[in-house]
């Protein structure tokens, strides 16, 4: 039985008091306990930003990569060993700015990993600049007169890219988030959760209170998560009422399951020493 104690590391947590990242860490660990996943079985991948430090705070396999590349790095790990539960953690700037190009491709491949985006709508670790999800008019150090660009809508993007698991959570509601993470890990295919993660130091606009006032739960209003059109409508709700929960979910063959040889042994388990290239040499004669 995996316990919270097993998942603890000796590293001091250096997020700001009240940071939304605490909620995500707690939801993640509790999800692993709920699923009874052993430490050896899980690999987490993180990018650069405050979120990236999470790799030091959970005692599972981990690769803290470079900015924007969580998705391809996690993809490589999963392709090499499909028996691993691979979970990518990215920031909003990490995933939606620097690494945006990878997002749609992972979705359309339906590679069997989970992506959790710590979406605080600001660059925190670089002391406060605008990101792809910052609100229009938002004043930061890089937009002192207010951002003139509207934010992008990652949920809608995931839906139109044919995502098979699209959800949104809130760090201020770790129980609800834990349930989303459990569902995401269980999902066979690319599971994606955008998580509202208030930055208490630099984001004066999207605060805990602001989120708490605006969010509601899709499941409490009878949303049918098998209806992509409805999900898309919901993904555009923003002013006053912002939906949390699973927007859309469906089962579809994963990247590996689409390969005839993808059903066999994980690549990392194949330790062939004497691969026969004679037929290839023969074909060149």
């Amino acid at each position: 039985m995996t316990t919270l104690k097993d998942l603890k590391t000796p590293i001091n947590i250096v997020w700001c008091p009240g940071c939304g990242n605490f909620g995500i860490l707690s939801a993640f660990k509790n999800a692993l306990v709920e699923l009874d996943l052993e430490r050896e079985q899980v690999a987490m991948v993180t990018g650069i930003g405050c979120h990236g430090k999470i790799v030091d705070y959970a005692n599972v396999n981990g690769f803290h990569g470079i900015h924007g590349r969580v998705i391809p790095l996690a993809t490589g790990i999963k392709l090499a060993n499909k028996n691993l539960t691979v979970i990518g953690f990215a920031g909003d700037a990490d995933c939606y700015d620097e690494g945006w190009g990878h997002f749609s491709h992972a979705i359309r491949r339906n590679i069997d990993i989970t992506l959790i985006v710590h979406d605080n709508m600001i660059l925190g670790l670089t002391t406060g600049q605008t990101t792809a999800t910052s609100q229009k008019g938002f004043k930061t150090k890089s937009t002192p007169f207010g951002s003139i660009t509207p934010p992008l809508n990652p949920i809608a993007h995931a839906l139109v890219s044919n995502g098979t698991f699209v959800a949104r959570g809130f760090a201020g509601d770790p129980k609800h988030l834990q349930n989303l993470i459990v569902q995401a890990i269980k999902h066979r295919g690319f599971s994606y959760i955008d998580v509202f993660q208030p930055c208490v130091t630099f984001n004066y606009l999207n605060t805990h209170e602001w989120f708490r006032k605006s969010v509601y739960k899709l499941e409490e209003e009878g949303h049918d998560y098998t209806d992509r059109q409805k999900a898309l409508e919901k993904s555009f709700e923003w002013d006053n009422r912002i939906p949390l929960g699973v927007f859309y979910k469906e089962e579809r063959l994963t990247y590996s399951n689409n390969l005839p040889h993808g059903k066999g042994m994980p690549l990392a388990k194949i330790l062939e020493e004497n691969i026969d290239i004679t037929p290839l040499l023969e074909s060149m004669r």
């Binding site: 005692n59 490589g76 060993n81």
Partner: protein
């Protein structure tokens, strides 16, 4: 070989030229393979532009009794599939050379050509295809190939065999018919006045194979147990992607055409972290994009094999031509300092063996290994002895498979004497494997501590020292010396210049001029000791490179503290020709 008076037997340089999209490279390949199957040695190289239709493409095949290492700049027989080909290449024809062409394309005479010596073989190629064969225009290439076989008095059944093995039955049969018509046309309409002949040789030993550098790299990777190949198409490295993709299912690999080179290098890193042998290939532009990921594999000590096939830059440059301009770039690419291995194969055999070795170095020393090739090397084709699949044994270093039996908690970045840590992979019982692109402690937790920072940098760089020692002690040919020791001058070079240099040495040898040639295969770690020893003995040193600034000379200066005497440099996108090198070497002697 001298046969009847004036006859040249089994010494032939043939050029097939035409528009892009006209199947030039394919025809060259078919003819080259036909020659190889008759026991002859063949070298083939293509020249094409970055477009799909129009423009001018050509393929040169050189055929000989003995092993040939490069093309020549002269042509014995020209196969012109359009009028432009004649005009562009007629001056390259040797005295009494021949031209096979379509008389509906162009009317040739000694006055239009301004040469009286050339043998002209006009064939109504298009007419034959349309009226006699009722086939698509592309079939005229095969008619021309049949004509070539007839013209050099070679064995048509060999060409038929190649056609049969290349195409599906129906297509093969119509191609064979086309070849037979071309063959017959020459025999019936022209007298036997061409001086160049090809004769079947007895095949001694194993039957040779005909392949490109890209295919040799792919073969090496498959044999080495590469299980994940991720790449984004980029000329001239794309041949590896095609080869790996074609063999993905047969060899239980995953071949991923990623959304770009940044994704490719990160997928390779992820896969290698998870314990499989992984590789990518690209050209300079893609390598630029991979640079940040390259540094990540350095600091996280993740094995990665990256093939960079150079083409002329800067930027897009000449996308389908060849260059050696990226040597300094690969040695220094990415921020900060970390150990890496740079290997530059010089021929197709080395493409195979060094790719296999690259995986060994990557895993034994847990670092990135760059195979530095170029367009000329990876897209040229050559007949070679079948590779010895057992020459390079698979060595996976400190990889822990199964269970971790250590007493202390597992440390992915444990500081050891050699700098190499035991390498567990995720899902190894008893371990949690963690790493980070941030500086870290032995467990792989981020650190900013000055002492640990120093220790970790020292640990990583120490690996290179031990690797260099192993290369030396195991007598791993990091350099190769061709020619005797008592010579007038020593040529120093790296990579694909090897072929033309060896051919130029043959030409010099015929005149009694003795030079030797030091090929530097391993550019990092630089084989300082050997290079120093050979330069000590050299009366004169000549560096030959396909770049502007003679990057190898600057490396020699850096490591051996010495200037070379002469530099022969070429940076027009085209490989050296042996006769050009021969002349330039003579000039400086």
């Amino acid at each position: 070989m001298i046969g009847e008076i004036g006859m040249k037997i089994n010494e032939l340089s043939i050029l097939i030229g035409g528009e892009a999209g006209a199947g030039i490279a394919r025809s060259g390949f078919l003819f080259a393979k036909t020659c190889m199957r008759g026991g002859l040695h063949v070298f083939g190289t293509n020249d094409y532009q970055s477009l799909i239709r129009g423009g001018h493409n050509f393929y040169i095949a050189r055929i000989d009794n003995e092993k040939v290492h490069s093309q020549t700049d002269y042509i014995d027989l020209l196969i012109a599939l359009n009028a432009e080909t004649v005009m562009l290449h007629k001056d390259g024809l040797v005295p009494d050379g021949g031209i096979i062409y379509d008389k509906d394309d162009i009317t040739l005479s000694s006055s239009t050509l301004d040469r009286k010596d050339l043998k002209l073989y006009p064939i109504p190629l298009k007419k034959i295809v349309r009226e006699e064969l009722k086939e698509q225009l592309l079939m005229r290439n095969t008619v021309a190939l049949g004509a070539v076989v007839a013209r050099v008095d070679y064995d048509l059944t060999l060409l038929e065999g190649v056609l049969r093995d290349t195409f599906r039955a129906e297509v093969a049969e119509s191609n064979i018919k086309a070849a037979q018509i071309g063959y017959k046309y020459i025999k019936e309409n022209f007298k036997n006045d061409f001086e160049y002949r090809l004769k079947k040789m007895e095949i001694v030993g194993k039957r040779r194979i005909f392949l490109s550098g890209n295919e040799a790299v792919g073969l090496g990777a498959i044999r080495a147990g590469c299980k994940l190949y991720a790449a984004y198409p980029m000329t001239p490295s794309t041949g590896v992607l095609h080869f790996m993709a074609a063999n993905e299912r047969k060899y239980n690999m995953i071949v991923m055409q990623s959304e770009g080179e940044i994704a490719a290098i990160n997928m390779v890193a992820g896969a290698a972290f998870a314990g499989v042998r992984a590789m990518t290939a690209t050209s300079g532009g893609g390598f630029c994009l991979m640079s940040e990921g390259l540094g990540m594999t350095g600091i996280t000590e993740t094995p990665a094999v990256i093939m960079l096939a150079q083409r002329p830059g800067p930027s897009t440059g000449l996308p389908t031509y060849s260059s050696q301009g990226d040597l300094r770039f690969v040695i220094h690419a990415s921020q900060g300092e970390f150990p890496r291995v740079v290997i530059a194969p010089g021929d197709i055999e080395e493409c195979f063996y060094e790719t296999m070795r690259a995986f060994n170095w990557a895993e034994k020393y847990q670092l990135p290994v760059i195979l530095l090739t170029d367009k000329y090397l990876v897209e040229s084709q050559m007949s070679v002895e079948p590779f010895d699949a057992n020459r390079v044994k698979i060595e996976r270093g400190t990889l822990i498979t199964g269970e971790y039996g250590g007493e202390e908690e597992y440390k992915r970045h444990k500081i050891t004497e050699t700098g190499v840590s035991p390498r567990a992979i995720p899902l190894t019982k008893g371990t949690v494997v963690r790493t980070t692109a941030n500086e870290h402690n032995e467990y792989g937790y981020t650190t900013e501590d000055p002492n640990m920072t120093t220790k970790m940098m020292d640990k990583r760089m120490r690996k290179l020292l031990h690797l260099a020692k192993e290369l030396e002690e195991e007598n791993m040919k990091t350099t190769k010396l061709y020619g005797s020791e008592e010579v007038e001058a020593t040529i120093v070079s790296w990579g694909s210049t090897k072929g033309p240099i060896r051919e130029a040495m043959k030409l010099l040898h015929r005149e009694g001029i003795a030079v030797n040639y030091l090929q530097i295969l391993y550019l990092q770690p630089f084989p300082t000791g050997i290079v120093e020893k050979i330069m000590d003995k050299a009366k004169k040193t000549i560096v030959i490179e396909n770049n502007k600034t003679s990057q190898l000379s600057s490396l020699i200066r850096e490591y051996v503290l010495r200037d070379v005497d002469h530099k022969i440099l070429k940076y027009d996108g085209r490989p050296f020709n042996p006769s050009y090198l021969y002349q330039r070497i003579k000039d400086v002697l």
